[in-house]
Symmetry: C2
Subunit: 255 residues, 2 copies
Amino acid sequence: MTVRRAAIECHAIETLPLVHPGDDLPALLARAIRTTGVALAPYDVVAVCQKIVSKAEGRIVDLAGITPSAFATRIAASTGKDARVVEVILRESTRIVKMADGHLICETGPGWICANAGVDESNAERLDSVTLLPHDADASAEALRVRLSAEADGAPVGVVVTDTFGRPWRDGLVDVALGVAGIGAVLDYRGATDMGGRELHHTLIAQADAIAAAAGLLMVKGAGIPAVVVRGLGWERTTGRGRDLVRPAALDLFR
Amino acid sequence: MTVRRAAIECHAIETLPLVHPGDDLPALLARAIRTTGVALAPYDVVAVCQKIVSKAEGRIVDLAGITPSAFATRIAASTGKDARVVEVILRESTRIVKMADGHLICETGPGWICANAGVDESNAERLDSVTLLPHDADASAEALRVRLSAEADGAPVGVVVTDTFGRPWRDGLVDVALGVAGIGAVLDYRGATDMGGRELHHTLIAQADAIAAAAGLLMVKGAGIPAVVVRGLGWERTTGRGRDLVRPAALDLFR
């Protein structure tokens, strides 16, 4: 299976209003794409930042209602964080990967490794609140895909819900895919050969992460761009989930 | 500092001939961009895959001339690799990060963590040979930048030399930046605030890795696309090196 792509375009969707809990994000996004002047076409992929998905889904926690545990209180003292925020981080975590220098690297969701379990104090709905990652980003992506595909007269449309993650070894953050619908998260080249006829070594390509990273070039911090339409990808495999991007621990030689 | 980008385009450069050691890659690439019909414009970034840079720089090792050490021979036996290839991998490595299941994850160059220290058996010039990573990918990028900027009448042009890496935690491979010239490898938002006036948590954005990942969507395996022009980024900071993307071990909580 070889995909050939001569060109791709990424268009920033700038006209989305501030999103509030309970908003119909698929409808808001469809309208924003229209008013930006980008008519969705077959095989467009819409990258949507996690934050607006979480807000629409009401994944906002009012810190006034949080009573920190003894452990959260102790961690807060040693990290300089708000104990209530630490409590929320612990509730979102399935595992603490590393805890040092005021930072918490956690495992959350289907196996995402990220700072603070994705709990975010910036750009929340209210000042004394934090946002969580979507409960099931693949389901969030699928709900968006259904509505956006309808917007494109039923044509195949992909959706990638993105977030900005740090990573080991390499400095700086990149946007990655949390939720995927309508497009393969991973391209599988097992069995394919190179130009010399030898089997390819690079067999699984994290396509959805590359789409997220490309969209991230437009979703620059502070620019207020929550969504990007990526055009020109084309694809053959139309199934895939964000959780396909979790590397099984037993096969992870990089960690 | 906030960059605003309404749209970016990525154009595949398809007309590059097979590259051989000693070839004038900057000139070949300038010509290929021209014949693809993409006239380089100010602030274009040209992503170039490591493989053709290495080939042009003669970073090809004839395995017939390699005598494996005792250690390489033992590792080869346990991994099922060619002992001469293991020997080359060890010569390119400053550290073995992990060794298991027939795989070698190594540290090489300025601090890249990658499989086999970047030594690649596929698509090499001759069958009984392997390619190495560029000796100094930042210098490779700078040499390309000088020629490609001249092609754009002296306008600012960025260059990113890319390679395809696996990574911890997340499955599949993505393209990352090894060498950077003319554009900041990392965007620094320290001190910037969000829409609510709070200091941003995501302070260092690995822009060059995002550019590499975006270009990687076109450099799909087997498609024979060794270079991509990325247009529409714009930038303010014109200095940066690939080695800016090495996360200092003491600050790496993700590993």
